[in-house]
Symmetry: C2
Subunit: 215 residues, 2 copies
DNA sequence: ACCTGAACACCGTTCAAGT
DNA sequence: ACCTGAACACCGTTCAAGT
Protein backbone atom coordinates (compact mmCIF):
# COMPACT_ATOMS: atom_id res chain seq x y z
CA UNK A 1 0.00 0.00 0.00
CA UNK A 2 2.72 2.37 1.08
CA UNK A 3 4.73 1.67 -2.04
CA UNK A 4 1.68 2.07 -4.26
CA UNK A 5 1.22 5.62 -2.96
CA UNK A 6 4.93 6.41 -3.08
CA UNK A 7 5.23 5.31 -6.69
CA UNK A 8 1.99 7.06 -7.64
CA UNK A 9 3.29 10.33 -6.22
CA UNK A 10 6.65 9.82 -7.94
CA UNK A 11 4.88 9.34 -11.25
CA UNK A 12 2.76 12.46 -10.70
CA UNK A 13 5.80 14.51 -9.75
CA UNK A 14 7.87 13.35 -12.68
CA UNK A 15 5.40 13.70 -15.48
CA UNK A 16 2.16 15.22 -14.26
CA UNK A 17 -1.36 14.03 -13.72
CA UNK A 18 -1.88 12.49 -17.11
CA UNK A 19 1.17 10.25 -16.62
CA UNK A 20 -0.47 8.44 -13.74
CA UNK A 21 -2.12 5.48 -15.42
CA UNK A 22 -2.76 2.12 -13.84
CA UNK A 23 -0.62 0.53 -16.50
CA UNK A 24 2.36 2.83 -15.87
CA UNK A 25 1.97 2.41 -12.12
CA UNK A 26 1.74 -1.37 -12.38
CA UNK A 27 4.89 -1.45 -14.47
CA UNK A 28 6.77 0.58 -11.87
CA UNK A 29 5.58 -1.75 -9.17
CA UNK A 30 6.55 -4.74 -11.24
CA UNK A 31 3.09 -6.26 -11.21
CA UNK A 32 -0.15 -6.48 -13.14
CA UNK A 33 -2.67 -3.68 -13.64
CA UNK A 34 -5.42 -5.41 -11.73
CA UNK A 35 -3.32 -5.76 -8.57
CA UNK A 36 -3.77 -2.10 -7.76
CA UNK A 37 -7.46 -2.69 -7.33
CA UNK A 38 -6.74 -4.71 -4.28
CA UNK A 39 -5.51 -1.53 -2.57
CA UNK A 40 -7.86 1.08 -3.98
CA UNK A 41 -11.34 0.84 -5.41
CA UNK A 42 -10.84 3.39 -8.17
CA UNK A 43 -8.47 5.94 -9.64
CA UNK A 44 -10.30 8.65 -7.71
CA UNK A 45 -9.52 6.92 -4.44
CA UNK A 46 -5.91 6.50 -5.52
CA UNK A 47 -5.66 10.25 -6.09
CA UNK A 48 -7.38 10.99 -2.78
CA UNK A 49 -4.94 8.77 -0.91
CA UNK A 50 -1.91 10.04 -2.84
CA UNK A 51 -2.97 13.58 -1.95
CA UNK A 52 -3.26 12.74 1.72
CA UNK A 53 0.12 11.06 1.54
CA UNK A 54 1.91 14.25 0.50
CA UNK A 55 -0.24 16.34 2.83
CA UNK A 56 1.19 14.20 5.59
CA UNK A 57 4.64 15.60 4.81
CA UNK A 58 3.28 19.13 4.70
CA UNK A 59 1.65 18.57 8.08
CA UNK A 60 5.00 17.52 9.53
CA UNK A 61 6.51 20.78 8.19
CA UNK A 62 3.69 22.70 9.83
CA UNK A 63 4.27 21.01 13.16
CA UNK A 64 7.95 21.91 13.02
CA UNK A 65 7.08 25.60 12.75
CA UNK A 66 7.87 27.85 15.74
CA UNK A 67 4.83 29.25 17.52
CA UNK A 68 3.96 32.92 16.99
CA UNK A 69 2.48 35.21 19.56
CA UNK A 70 0.14 36.68 16.98
CA UNK A 71 -2.31 34.13 15.56
CA UNK A 72 -2.42 35.90 12.20
CA UNK A 73 1.36 35.74 11.93
CA UNK A 74 1.09 32.04 12.63
CA UNK A 75 -1.63 31.61 10.01
CA UNK A 76 0.65 33.34 7.51
CA UNK A 77 3.58 31.08 8.32
CA UNK A 78 1.40 28.00 8.01
CA UNK A 79 -0.10 29.13 4.72
CA UNK A 80 3.33 29.82 3.24
CA UNK A 81 4.64 26.44 4.38
CA UNK A 82 1.62 24.70 2.92
CA UNK A 83 2.01 26.60 -0.32
CA UNK A 84 5.65 25.59 -0.59
CA UNK A 85 4.76 21.98 -0.02
CA UNK A 86 2.12 21.78 -2.71
CA UNK A 87 3.59 24.33 -5.14
CA UNK A 88 5.15 21.72 -7.37
CA UNK A 89 2.11 19.47 -7.15
CA UNK A 90 -0.74 21.27 -8.85
CA UNK A 91 -2.68 18.04 -9.33
CA UNK A 92 -3.16 18.05 -5.58
CA UNK A 93 -5.42 21.09 -5.64
CA UNK A 94 -8.28 19.18 -7.19
CA UNK A 95 -8.24 16.51 -4.49
CA UNK A 96 -7.21 18.24 -1.28
CA UNK A 97 -9.92 18.02 1.39
CA UNK A 98 -12.28 16.36 -1.05
CA UNK A 99 -12.89 13.35 1.10
CA UNK A 100 -11.79 13.73 4.69
CA UNK A 101 -12.83 10.16 5.46
CA UNK A 102 -9.84 9.04 3.45
CA UNK A 103 -7.74 12.16 4.01
CA UNK A 104 -6.92 12.10 7.70
CA UNK A 105 -3.87 14.31 7.28
CA UNK A 106 -5.85 16.93 5.39
CA UNK A 107 -8.35 17.04 8.21
CA UNK A 108 -5.60 17.45 10.80
CA UNK A 109 -4.08 20.23 8.75
CA UNK A 110 -7.44 21.95 8.50
CA UNK A 111 -7.80 21.64 12.26
CA UNK A 112 -4.33 23.07 12.84
CA UNK A 113 -5.06 26.14 10.74
CA UNK A 114 -8.43 26.53 12.39
CA UNK A 115 -7.01 26.46 15.91
CA UNK A 116 -5.32 29.77 15.22
CA UNK A 117 -8.69 31.37 14.54
CA UNK A 118 -9.83 30.23 18.00
CA UNK A 119 -7.36 32.77 19.34
CA UNK A 120 -9.09 35.57 17.44
CA UNK A 121 -12.24 37.39 18.47
CA UNK A 122 -14.57 35.97 15.84
CA UNK A 123 -17.87 34.12 15.59
CA UNK A 124 -17.85 30.42 14.72
CA UNK A 125 -19.12 31.28 11.26
CA UNK A 126 -16.38 33.84 10.74
CA UNK A 127 -13.81 31.29 11.80
CA UNK A 128 -15.20 28.73 9.38
CA UNK A 129 -15.15 31.25 6.55
CA UNK A 130 -11.68 32.53 7.42
CA UNK A 131 -10.07 29.11 7.23
CA UNK A 132 -11.91 28.35 4.00
CA UNK A 133 -10.66 31.61 2.52
CA UNK A 134 -7.05 30.93 3.50
CA UNK A 135 -7.11 27.38 2.20
CA UNK A 136 -8.71 28.73 -0.95
CA UNK A 137 -5.89 31.22 -1.52
CA UNK A 138 -3.21 28.57 -0.97
CA UNK A 139 -4.77 25.88 -3.11
CA UNK A 140 -6.00 28.28 -5.78
CA UNK A 141 -2.59 29.89 -6.18
CA UNK A 142 -0.83 26.54 -6.33
CA UNK A 143 -3.23 25.27 -8.97
CA UNK A 144 -2.87 28.41 -11.08
CA UNK A 145 0.85 28.09 -10.84
CA UNK A 146 0.84 24.53 -11.99
CA UNK A 147 -1.61 24.75 -14.84
CA UNK A 148 0.17 27.55 -16.62
CA UNK A 149 2.73 25.67 -18.70
CA UNK A 150 0.84 24.53 -21.78
CA UNK A 151 3.00 21.68 -22.96
CA UNK A 152 5.85 23.39 -24.78
CA UNK A 153 7.14 24.64 -21.44
CA UNK A 154 6.83 21.16 -19.97
CA UNK A 155 8.74 19.77 -22.93
CA UNK A 156 11.48 22.23 -22.18
CA UNK A 157 11.22 23.59 -25.72
CA UNK A 158 10.33 27.01 -24.32
CA UNK A 159 11.33 28.48 -20.96
CA UNK A 160 8.78 29.98 -18.62
CA UNK A 161 10.15 33.50 -19.06
CA UNK A 162 10.01 33.21 -22.81
CA UNK A 163 6.49 31.91 -22.56
CA UNK A 164 5.39 34.84 -20.41
CA UNK A 165 7.27 37.22 -22.66
CA UNK A 166 5.47 35.98 -25.73
CA UNK A 167 2.14 36.62 -24.06
CA UNK A 168 3.25 40.01 -22.85
CA UNK A 169 4.16 40.87 -26.42
CA UNK A 170 0.68 40.14 -27.77
CA UNK A 171 -0.76 42.16 -24.91
CA UNK A 172 1.46 45.11 -25.79
CA UNK A 173 0.06 45.07 -29.29
CA UNK A 174 -3.47 45.67 -28.04
CA UNK A 175 -4.95 49.14 -28.45
CA UNK A 176 -4.07 51.11 -25.28
CA UNK A 177 -7.37 52.97 -25.56
CA UNK A 178 -9.32 49.70 -25.26
CA UNK A 179 -6.97 48.00 -22.83
CA UNK A 180 -5.54 50.61 -20.46
CA UNK A 181 -5.28 48.16 -17.56
CA UNK A 182 -3.54 45.47 -19.56
CA UNK A 183 -0.99 48.05 -20.65
CA UNK A 184 -0.60 49.27 -17.09
CA UNK A 185 0.34 45.83 -15.78
CA UNK A 186 2.01 44.15 -18.75
CA UNK A 187 5.50 44.88 -17.45
CA UNK A 188 4.52 43.38 -14.09
CA UNK A 189 3.11 40.34 -15.81
CA UNK A 190 6.21 39.82 -17.91
CA UNK A 191 8.51 37.59 -15.93
CA UNK A 192 6.35 37.82 -12.81
CA UNK A 193 6.87 35.61 -9.82
CA UNK A 194 3.92 33.39 -8.92
CA UNK A 195 5.01 33.20 -5.32
CA UNK A 196 4.75 36.95 -4.98
CA UNK A 197 1.29 36.78 -6.45
CA UNK A 198 0.32 34.23 -3.83
CA UNK A 199 1.90 36.21 -1.01
CA UNK A 200 0.03 39.29 -2.10
CA UNK A 201 -3.35 37.54 -2.25
CA UNK A 202 -2.67 36.00 1.15
CA UNK A 203 -1.75 39.38 2.60
CA UNK A 204 -5.01 40.94 1.41
CA UNK A 205 -7.02 38.15 3.02
CA UNK A 206 -5.07 38.31 6.29
CA UNK A 207 -5.39 42.10 6.42
CA UNK A 208 -9.14 41.74 6.00
CA UNK A 209 -9.21 39.10 8.71
CA UNK A 210 -7.21 41.24 11.13
CA UNK A 211 -9.66 44.07 10.56
CA UNK A 212 -12.60 41.74 11.15
CA UNK A 213 -11.11 40.42 14.39
CA UNK A 214 -10.24 43.89 15.57
CA UNK A 215 -6.72 42.65 16.23
CA UNK B 1 -18.45 26.53 -35.23
CA UNK B 2 -21.03 28.40 -33.20
CA UNK B 3 -23.16 25.28 -32.89
CA UNK B 4 -20.17 23.15 -31.95
CA UNK B 5 -19.53 25.41 -28.95
CA UNK B 6 -23.21 25.70 -28.05
CA UNK B 7 -23.66 21.94 -28.02
CA UNK B 8 -20.40 21.41 -26.18
CA UNK B 9 -21.51 23.79 -23.43
CA UNK B 10 -24.94 22.13 -23.30
CA UNK B 11 -23.29 18.76 -22.83
CA UNK B 12 -21.04 20.11 -20.08
CA UNK B 13 -23.96 21.76 -18.31
CA UNK B 14 -26.16 18.70 -18.48
CA UNK B 15 -23.74 16.04 -17.39
CA UNK B 16 -20.42 17.51 -16.40
CA UNK B 17 -16.93 17.53 -17.79
CA UNK B 18 -16.60 13.82 -18.26
CA UNK B 19 -19.70 13.75 -20.46
CA UNK B 20 -18.04 15.90 -23.11
CA UNK B 21 -16.58 13.35 -25.48
CA UNK B 22 -16.03 13.83 -29.18
CA UNK B 23 -18.33 10.92 -29.83
CA UNK B 24 -21.19 12.34 -27.72
CA UNK B 25 -20.69 15.77 -29.25
CA UNK B 26 -20.64 14.38 -32.79
CA UNK B 27 -23.86 12.50 -32.16
CA UNK B 28 -25.57 15.67 -30.93
CA UNK B 29 -24.38 17.51 -34.00
CA UNK B 30 -25.55 14.66 -36.21
CA UNK B 31 -22.16 14.09 -37.78
CA UNK B 32 -19.01 12.05 -37.50
CA UNK B 33 -16.37 12.31 -34.78
CA UNK B 34 -13.64 13.50 -37.08
CA UNK B 35 -15.66 16.49 -38.30
CA UNK B 36 -15.05 18.34 -35.04
CA UNK B 37 -11.35 18.42 -35.86
CA UNK B 38 -12.07 20.78 -38.70
CA UNK B 39 -13.11 23.40 -36.12
CA UNK B 40 -10.69 22.72 -33.28
CA UNK B 41 -7.27 21.15 -33.20
CA UNK B 42 -7.75 19.29 -29.93
CA UNK B 43 -10.04 18.75 -26.98
CA UNK B 44 -8.05 21.31 -25.02
CA UNK B 45 -8.79 23.94 -27.62
CA UNK B 46 -12.45 22.96 -27.58
CA UNK B 47 -12.56 23.52 -23.81
CA UNK B 48 -10.71 26.83 -24.16
CA UNK B 49 -13.19 28.06 -26.74
CA UNK B 50 -16.22 26.72 -24.87
CA UNK B 51 -14.98 28.57 -21.79
CA UNK B 52 -14.62 31.81 -23.69
CA UNK B 53 -18.08 31.28 -25.14
CA UNK B 54 -19.76 31.29 -21.73
CA UNK B 55 -17.45 34.05 -20.48
CA UNK B 56 -18.91 36.12 -23.32
CA UNK B 57 -22.32 35.93 -21.65
CA UNK B 58 -20.81 36.81 -18.27
CA UNK B 59 -19.11 39.78 -19.87
CA UNK B 60 -22.44 41.01 -21.19
CA UNK B 61 -23.86 40.76 -17.66
CA UNK B 62 -20.94 42.78 -16.38
CA UNK B 63 -21.47 45.46 -18.95
CA UNK B 64 -25.12 45.75 -17.96
CA UNK B 65 -24.11 46.55 -14.38
CA UNK B 66 -24.72 50.09 -13.09
CA UNK B 67 -21.58 52.11 -12.37
CA UNK B 68 -20.60 52.65 -8.73
CA UNK B 69 -18.94 55.71 -7.36
CA UNK B 70 -16.62 53.58 -5.27
CA UNK B 71 -14.32 51.36 -7.33
CA UNK B 72 -14.26 48.68 -4.65
CA UNK B 73 -18.05 48.52 -4.62
CA UNK B 74 -17.89 48.09 -8.36
CA UNK B 75 -15.28 45.34 -8.06
CA UNK B 76 -17.55 43.57 -5.61
CA UNK B 77 -20.55 43.79 -7.93
CA UNK B 78 -18.49 42.49 -10.83
CA UNK B 79 -17.04 39.62 -8.83
CA UNK B 80 -20.48 38.57 -7.64
CA UNK B 81 -21.89 38.70 -11.15
CA UNK B 82 -18.99 36.68 -12.47
CA UNK B 83 -19.40 34.17 -9.68
CA UNK B 84 -23.09 33.75 -10.46
CA UNK B 85 -22.31 33.19 -14.10
CA UNK B 86 -19.76 30.45 -13.56
CA UNK B 87 -21.20 28.97 -10.37
CA UNK B 88 -22.96 26.13 -12.17
CA UNK B 89 -20.00 25.55 -14.46
CA UNK B 90 -17.11 24.34 -12.35
CA UNK B 91 -15.31 22.84 -15.35
CA UNK B 92 -14.73 26.40 -16.45
CA UNK B 93 -12.33 27.15 -13.61
CA UNK B 94 -9.61 24.99 -15.04
CA UNK B 95 -9.68 26.80 -18.38
CA UNK B 96 -10.54 30.41 -17.65
CA UNK B 97 -7.75 32.77 -18.73
CA UNK B 98 -5.55 29.86 -19.68
CA UNK B 99 -4.99 31.00 -23.21
CA UNK B 100 -5.96 34.60 -23.88
CA UNK B 101 -5.05 34.25 -27.55
CA UNK B 102 -8.15 32.11 -27.93
CA UNK B 103 -10.11 33.66 -25.06
CA UNK B 104 -10.82 37.20 -26.17
CA UNK B 105 -13.78 37.55 -23.84
CA UNK B 106 -11.76 36.44 -20.84
CA UNK B 107 -9.16 39.07 -21.65
CA UNK B 108 -11.82 41.77 -21.95
CA UNK B 109 -13.30 40.69 -18.63
CA UNK B 110 -9.87 40.84 -17.01
CA UNK B 111 -9.42 44.32 -18.43
CA UNK B 112 -12.81 45.44 -17.15
CA UNK B 113 -12.02 44.30 -13.63
CA UNK B 114 -8.60 45.86 -13.83
CA UNK B 115 -9.91 49.25 -14.89
CA UNK B 116 -11.49 49.64 -11.47
CA UNK B 117 -8.08 49.33 -9.86
CA UNK B 118 -6.90 52.25 -12.00
CA UNK B 119 -9.22 54.39 -9.90
CA UNK B 120 -7.44 53.32 -6.71
CA UNK B 121 -4.19 54.72 -5.38
CA UNK B 122 -1.99 51.69 -6.03
CA UNK B 123 1.21 50.78 -7.79
CA UNK B 124 1.03 48.86 -11.07
CA UNK B 125 2.22 45.76 -9.26
CA UNK B 126 -0.43 46.11 -6.57
CA UNK B 127 -3.07 46.47 -9.28
CA UNK B 128 -1.84 43.35 -11.02
CA UNK B 129 -1.87 41.40 -7.78
CA UNK B 130 -5.27 42.76 -6.70
CA UNK B 131 -7.02 41.62 -9.87
CA UNK B 132 -5.29 38.24 -9.70
CA UNK B 133 -6.47 37.85 -6.12
CA UNK B 134 -10.08 38.72 -6.94
CA UNK B 135 -10.19 36.43 -9.96
CA UNK B 136 -8.64 33.75 -7.77
CA UNK B 137 -11.36 34.06 -5.14
CA UNK B 138 -14.13 33.91 -7.75
CA UNK B 139 -12.74 31.00 -9.74
CA UNK B 140 -11.50 29.12 -6.69
CA UNK B 141 -14.86 29.34 -4.94
CA UNK B 142 -16.75 28.30 -8.05
CA UNK B 143 -14.47 25.30 -8.56
CA UNK B 144 -14.77 24.22 -4.93
CA UNK B 145 -18.49 24.50 -5.18
CA UNK B 146 -18.65 22.37 -8.25
CA UNK B 147 -16.27 19.62 -7.29
CA UNK B 148 -18.00 18.83 -4.04
CA UNK B 149 -20.68 16.39 -5.17
CA UNK B 150 -18.93 13.03 -5.37
CA UNK B 151 -21.23 11.17 -7.70
CA UNK B 152 -24.07 10.07 -5.46
CA UNK B 153 -25.20 13.68 -5.20
CA UNK B 154 -24.98 14.06 -8.97
CA UNK B 155 -27.06 10.92 -9.37
CA UNK B 156 -29.66 12.47 -7.15
CA UNK B 157 -29.45 9.47 -4.82
CA UNK B 158 -28.38 11.75 -1.98
CA UNK B 159 -29.21 15.42 -1.53
CA UNK B 160 -26.53 17.99 -0.85
CA UNK B 161 -27.77 18.66 2.67
CA UNK B 162 -27.78 14.99 3.51
CA UNK B 163 -24.29 14.68 2.08
CA UNK B 164 -23.00 17.55 4.21
CA UNK B 165 -24.86 16.20 7.20
CA UNK B 166 -23.22 12.82 6.88
CA UNK B 167 -19.82 14.47 6.90
CA UNK B 168 -20.76 16.65 9.81
CA UNK B 169 -21.73 13.54 11.72
CA UNK B 170 -18.33 11.89 11.29
CA UNK B 171 -16.73 15.17 12.36
CA UNK B 172 -18.86 15.28 15.49
CA UNK B 173 -17.56 11.87 16.45
CA UNK B 174 -13.96 13.09 16.55
CA UNK B 175 -12.36 13.67 19.93
CA UNK B 176 -13.06 17.31 20.91
CA UNK B 177 -9.70 17.47 22.67
CA UNK B 178 -7.88 16.72 19.42
CA UNK B 179 -10.22 18.64 17.12
CA UNK B 180 -11.49 21.71 18.97
CA UNK B 181 -11.74 23.77 15.78
CA UNK B 182 -13.66 21.13 13.85
CA UNK B 183 -16.14 20.96 16.71
CA UNK B 184 -16.37 24.75 16.84
CA UNK B 185 -17.40 25.01 13.19
CA UNK B 186 -19.22 21.74 12.52
CA UNK B 187 -22.65 23.34 12.93
CA UNK B 188 -21.63 26.05 10.49
CA UNK B 189 -20.39 23.48 8.04
CA UNK B 190 -23.58 21.42 8.26
CA UNK B 191 -25.91 22.78 5.60
CA UNK B 192 -23.63 25.72 4.84
CA UNK B 193 -24.17 27.95 1.87
CA UNK B 194 -21.29 28.05 -0.60
CA UNK B 195 -22.29 31.47 -1.81
CA UNK B 196 -21.87 32.88 1.66
CA UNK B 197 -18.45 31.29 1.83
CA UNK B 198 -17.52 32.99 -1.41
CA UNK B 199 -18.95 36.34 -0.30
CA UNK B 200 -16.99 36.12 2.90
CA UNK B 201 -13.68 35.33 1.17
CA UNK B 202 -14.32 38.15 -1.29
CA UNK B 203 -15.06 40.57 1.54
CA UNK B 204 -11.78 39.77 3.29
CA UNK B 205 -9.84 40.40 0.09
CA UNK B 206 -11.68 43.63 -0.67
CA UNK B 207 -11.21 44.87 2.89
CA UNK B 208 -7.49 44.22 2.56
CA UNK B 209 -7.44 46.02 -0.76
CA UNK B 210 -9.28 49.03 0.63
CA UNK B 211 -6.75 49.25 3.41
CA UNK B 212 -3.87 49.01 0.93
CA UNK B 213 -5.32 51.75 -1.25
CA UNK B 214 -6.03 53.95 1.75
CA UNK B 215 -9.59 54.36 0.47
C1' DA C 1 -4.76 -12.61 1.58
C1' DC C 2 -2.78 -11.22 -2.51
C1' DC C 3 -1.93 -11.28 -7.43
C1' DT C 4 -2.69 -12.18 -12.56
C1' DG C 5 -3.96 -12.21 -17.89
C1' DA C 6 -7.19 -11.30 -20.73
C1' DA C 7 -11.08 -9.15 -21.96
C1' DC C 8 -14.64 -5.16 -22.11
C1' DA C 9 -16.20 -0.81 -23.16
C1' DC C 10 -14.59 3.07 -23.77
C1' DC C 11 -11.31 7.33 -25.04
C1' DG C 12 -8.74 11.30 -28.29
C1' DT C 13 -6.61 11.53 -32.56
C1' DT C 14 -5.23 10.46 -37.42
C1' DC C 15 -5.78 9.62 -42.18
C1' DA C 16 -7.07 8.37 -46.65
C1' DA C 17 -11.02 9.11 -49.02
C1' DG C 18 -15.18 11.35 -50.31
C1' DT C 19 -18.26 15.60 -51.88
C1' DA D 1 -14.21 24.08 -47.90
C1' DC D 2 -16.23 20.64 -45.27
C1' DC D 3 -17.27 15.98 -43.83
C1' DT D 4 -16.71 10.76 -43.17
C1' DG D 5 -15.59 5.62 -41.62
C1' DA D 6 -12.42 3.05 -40.04
C1' DA D 7 -8.46 2.37 -37.74
C1' DC D 8 -4.72 3.27 -34.02
C1' DA D 9 -3.01 3.49 -29.61
C1' DC D 10 -4.47 4.14 -25.68
C1' DC D 11 -7.61 4.32 -21.15
C1' DG D 12 -10.12 2.53 -16.30
C1' DT D 13 -12.40 -1.39 -14.72
C1' DT D 14 -13.98 -6.28 -14.26
C1' DC D 15 -13.61 -11.10 -13.62
C1' DA D 16 -12.54 -15.77 -13.52
C1' DA D 17 -8.65 -17.98 -12.18
C1' DG D 18 -4.43 -18.72 -9.81
C1' DT D 19 -1.21 -19.11 -5.38
Amino acid sequence: MESVLTEAVALLDEAGEQALTFRALAQRLGGGVASIYWYVASKDELLDRATDHVIGAALADLEALPAHEDPIDELRAMAVTLFDAIMERPWLGAYFMRNTDVQGNALRLYEKLGQQTLRLDLTARQRFHAVSAIVGVVVGSAVDLGQEPPQEVLDGAVGRDEFLGRYAQTWRELDPADFPFVHEIVDEFDGHDDIEQFRSALELTLAGLRLQAGA
